[in-house]
Amino acid sequence: MSQRINRRNFLKILGVGGAATALVSCSAEPPETLIPYLIPPEEIIPGVATWYATVCRECPAGCGMLVRTREGRAVKVEGNPSHPVNRGRLCARGQASLQGLYNPDRIRQPLLRGDSGQFQSISWEEAERLLVERLADLRRQGKAKGIACVTPLLSGSLDHLIGTWLAALGSKRRLTYEAFAYEPLKAANRIVFGLDVIPSYDIGAAELLLSFGADFLETWISPVAYTSAFATMRAYRDGRVGTAIYVGPRLSLTAANTDQWVRIKPGTELYLVMGLIHVILKERLAPSIPQKEAKQLKALVKAYDPEAVAAVTEVPAGKVFRLARMFARARPGLAIGGGVAAASRNATATLVAINLLNYVTGNVGRTVRFGPNANLAKLATYRDMLSLVKAMDKGEVQALLLYGVNPLFTLPEAAGFRAALKKTPFVVSFAPFMDETTAEANLILPDHTPLESWGDYSPWEGVHGLMQPVMQPVFKTKAVGDLLLSVAKRVDDRMAKEFPWPTFYEYARDRWGELHRRLAPMKEFEAFWEEALRSGGIWKEARATPVRLSPEVFQMAFEPPELDGGAAEAFHLLPFPSLVHYDGRGANRPWLQELPDPVTEIVWDSWLEIHPEAAKRMGIGDGDVIAVTSPHGALELPAHLHDGLHLDTVAIPIGQGHWAYGRYAGGRGANPLVLLSPDPEEVSGGLAWSATKVSLRKTGRRHHLVTVGGSSQQFGRGIAQTISLAEMTELAKDGEGAGREAHRPKQIYPPHDHPKHRWGMSIDLNACVGCNACVAACYAENNIPVVGKERVAEGRIMSWIRITRFVEAQQPNRPDIRFLPMLCQHCDAAPCESVCPVYATIHTPEGLNAQVYNRCVGVRYCSNNCPYKVRRFNWFQYAWPEPLNWQLNPDVTVRTVGIMEKCTFCVQRIREAEDRAKDEGRVVREGEVTPACAQACPARAIVFGDLKDPRSEVSKLSRDSRRYQVLEELNTQPAVTYLKKIRQALE
């Protein structure tokens, strides 16, 4: 690596945040290798963590992250508290970005496809020369127009650089492509309000949230932000809680967290929305809209009286009335849509209707705000991708540059990308991983992962996240920005002049100079820049633009969706984005593979969901391998019976079925995109995700789908408890402390003495949505090994915290699915402690139930006697393939074979805070210690603190009127208090 790469000098830059350990700027040359202890740079204090602020690029939501590094290695990522998108919280995918950085299947140096068709390693020098020659050739021959570049959503310096760079070469073929591009959402806003944008949805402020297939807790637009807002909305206040209703053909995780799930025939959401507007207008429940518009709208929805709607949607007319009245009454309400679930051929029409529904009930401008808008609207549409494919097919594309996209996996197989790729003479991939598309490339110039790169990303107007490398690159990779600049210098002099920046770092700084002039011209640039680095970016309030109905809406034709497939294809196919794998990019992270899908509890696999009745009709059992055929393709997947599904629908998660992409992703399940129709939705040009019909056939083979969890029922054991809103209101009258203190029977042994602290936790089941972020965070923080599918099947999963899921007696359309994070309860009278023969598990003076690894002989008696079953035994000596082991937290022991382990309440964090407090001669402050799970939780359901301090948040919550403890009658006296989920009775 040459001296020119100043990005390596990132240590010059302050990267401080969160717990804020300042790293003082200094001129020491950073070490060239990643063995920092050999020549420790003086600014790194061994044993003290350094935090860097950056942006998560695992999905387009662009959450802010703080990365904890130790001795020059990133060991943990957390949400950036000052970032306006996620406010310090982070999802499981964000947590797992570390496993992208340290993925053992990363491409380690440039690769060139040789004559034999095999890749061979080449030097960067040679790789760059090859690229430059090719591009310069094309330019000379006047074929520069044939250079195409596809990137994911970028919205900052790199975006600008790629644009200008491509333009300088002489091409305009530039596409920003994401699999989930929300085209109908954008189109609907254009049609209804004349704005080609994706607005802000204020879920937190809504009294009634009506989601038409938008899985906002999982993957829709900005899941962390929306989970947080959802928790706010659902929180109890003055006798009320927000109501959420989900309309869709499948009971998704999001649907499972609502009060009511309206099962609807897929593709008919439009009719229900129109029916709602019909009722609202007819019953004059929408007072605020002008007479003329009301009249026009009335005419538009005339045909959709509830009876007609009921006939099409299979939603009873009475329910349509009730929904309409409830929604109109809510001040404000919010209707959202645009998820994959409702992306049929009339997706745009549905979203137009949803916009109108929000409009007539006066929500536009209140819970739907046009500003700040999402930069997602800048994405190319699926149709644009199709035109690129067509161009490639025609041989118009001479060189295809792919950066951070995997269209071979994320485009429908029938879209013909594979054949088009073969016709493209020169395909260059900058991917850090050998994904499906990269495996077909001619030349691979591996990029850094985002955690090693400079950059910036702006998910929303006014939110400018700044990315900085948090450590030295793990492999011999090169940032794509640096590469483009270096290439520019070598193509020809004119281009060299146009791109004088030595590295992308300087380029980005210059671009930020512009931002500086615009946003904070008073400040010194250096101060502005350092401030941005420290806080992870710069944020500015964006004002909302008022909108009016555009006349275009009245020309809208609302047609029934045409589906692909004839009478032979009896089932409607619903592919849905996986919570953890997103569009497939998460599949190579072992943590994410091991996280159980919260709805089905399946790990490491993909499946076909089918309604039990339909399955019975066809003689299909759980685990039967089913051949699924559509007019466009076929695949085989094991069946999983799921009664949260429309009868005629089958659902397949998107994200698995990789045939490349490394050891963890490869060969698991199937990719539903091979089944999809390639035709875009007419109006928006988006991919019609759920517009394909399929037929099923049993193959006679079976496949073992491994699930976590024994039984989903509680058998009246009161483990995950609820409280009705009425009871809650009654209790709340009595004020704080209305929740009874736990009954404490007499004991032979005296209670433990806690001289300083008694650490405790409270978990709000009303907030928890079961998203698994806490579990992923715990894996990252506590060096928890991933054991793989077979060992999970044997009951050897190692997770210290897990989301237990209970399904109460299912009433039709009313999900009562309860998620309860279960972890060591740190009992005061712990059953595990008395039975340990060697005192390997003991109660500490601070109220922790400590496990002394070195003392443990492995009798497993403690686990047998633990009523919560939260102890995990090391059945094997687990290994982390190099360099995944670089992520191991040096503050936490890596456990050896034959001993017991379990949740420690992140004792290392408690120690750190206590040491700091001691150094500063004070006591530990409230909020100073946050375990990894509580830190990550997007819903802020977990609160940690000192139970001895009666004023601490956790103490207050432990006396809350919703308090209860799991299996309280056993008198284990847990330090974890749960708060009951609030139940609402909706008709």
């Binding site: 050897r796 039975v835 005192y839 443990c856 002989v857 009798v859 047998n864 006697n865 009523p867 090391n874």
Partner: protein, 440 residues
């Protein structure tokens, strides 16, 4: 009274110690092969970790602990027969007690292997012993496992001492007949026994004392083993009935095992004169008693779980009879409490083949009982989401077979190195020779 002379007794009973034939060596070789295979399986487990077993979360204990309890149980009848029946002056015990006692010692030696085998880190087993470790660490006396260590160790020491004490006069007889290295060996073991009045006096009081010492152990040891379960809060374990229930079960299984061993022994070594059907019948009668206690205990467990109104207990017991391990439960219920009732039929309890067959059934039943108590309770405890299933792996079954081979190896050695029937005490049953000492 046995109508035999002392010398005839000597001749008959020492015949068992004659150099063995081919069959013996074949059996010995087979036994050693199984033992070696079990040992290999164990080393594989040591190298790889306990993951090679079928254990998991929630089932932290499986076949290993079940078999530990099984063997400790087996051990009990030996002492019951040798000590308690001795104190009760049940002289019919005399010809059979030696074998029963050997069984006790070997069963404890086998049982003691399991706690070490099932450890996650067996190389640290000595941390379970009561000594000051690393300066100031001590063991947790509240843990039933520590109580176990004491109970089993005490039981082994006392029963081994008792066994040896009873052997001494016989060893002197063997010594007197032996030549070569055997003579030296038995001279050492016989401890200079001369058969003087003084020696007999001391011997008798020592024997009585040890019998008195061993008797409470019969009750206490298995009570303590049962506390491994009773002192926890696992539904199906947490029960006050466990101590008497386990002691009865131990004796039940031990008696069955005595029958299983005695019947072939008496046949092979032609000891029918000494071990008569009457002896076997007495054992069978005892089995009726213990079988009734077992049936009563099972009934009580179910009654209390219903009567107690604890939903966890109720669920556990419902799970036992209809759940995943119902087969083991029904084998246990029928074999332990119904099958012994067959002995109320005189014809059956007088028939050696029936006795042998049914004793095997009871043995299997008792092993199943331990399996059901341990595994079925752990598999379905408090949190339904954490429920899981357990299936023993080939490693566990191999180790299991290996430890059975270990037990039988000691037995095979025992029958060739020591008199299997007490010469001394059989002579007590023989008409004493004429005064003047002329052997007819």
């Amino acid at each position: 009274m046995i109508q035999l002379s002392y010398s005839q007794v000597n001749r008959d009973l020492l015949k068992t110690m004659e150099p063995p034939g081919k069959v013996y060596y074949v059996i010995l070789a087979l036994d050693l092969a199984v033992l070696a295979w079990g040992f290999y399986a164990w080393t594989y487990q040591l190298r790889t970790g306990l993951g090679v077993t079928g254990l998991n979360s929630p089932v932290g204990w499986g076949v290993y602990i079940a078999t530990f309890v099984f063997w400790v149980g087996i051990a009990h009848s030996g002492t019951l027969i040798s000590a308690i029946l001795f104190l009760f002056r049940c002289r019919w015990r005399n010809p059979i007690y030696r074998t029963a006692e050997a069984m006790t010692v070997f069963a404890v030696m086998t049982a003691a292997l399991y706690p070490i085998i099932h450890l996650g880190r067996p190389w640290r087993f000595y941390w379970l012993l009561p000594y000051q470790q690393r300066g100031h660490f001590w063991i947790n006396f509240r843990s039933p496992l520590i109580m176990d260590v004491f109970a089993v160790a005490t039981y082994f020491i006392v029963s081994a001492a008792f066994f040896f004490t009873g052997l001494v006069p016989d060893l002197a007889v063997v010594r007197d007949k032996a030549v070569g290295w055997r003579r030296k060996f038995y001279t050492f073991l016989a401890q200079g026994w001369e058969g003087t009045d003084r020696e007999w006096r001391h011997y008798s009081s020592a024997y009585l004392l040890l019998a008195a010492l061993a008797t409470p152990l019969v009750i206490s040891v298995h009570s303590i083993v049962s506390w491994d379960f009773a002192l926890t809060i696992v539904p199906g374990w947490h029960s006050t009935i466990f101590a008497p229930y386990f002691v009865a079960g131990a004796i039940h299984s031990g008696l069955a095992m005595v029958l299983t061993i005695l019947i072939p022994l008496r046949r092979i070594f032609r000891l029918e004169t000494y071990i008569t059907p009457a002896h076997l019948e007495n054992l069978a009668k005892l089995l009726i008693l213990t079988g009734l206690i077992m049936g009563y205990s099972y009934g009580t467990e179910f009654f209390i779980s219903w009567y107690g109104g604890n939903i966890f207990e109720q669920a556990t017991f419902r799970y036992r009879i209809v759940g995943d391990y119902a087969l083991a439960f029904w084998i246990m219920a029928v074999a332990n409490s119904v099958v012994p009732l067959l002995f109320t039929v005189k014809k059956i309890r007088m028939s050696v083949p029936w006795l042998f067959g049914l004793s095997l059934v009871i043995n299997v039943g008792m092993w199943c009982e331990r399996f059901v108590i341990i595994i079925a309770s752990l598999a379905h405890d408090y949190i339904p989401f954490a429920w899981g299933l357990y299936k023993p792996s080939w490693v566990e079954l191999s180790v299991l077979a290996g430890t059975f081979a270990w037990f039988f190896l000691w037995f095979l050695l025992f029958v060739k190195f020591l008199p299997v029937v007490s010469i001394t005490e059989v002579k007590e049953l023989v008409e004493p020779p004429l005064k003047g000492g002329v052997d007819p």
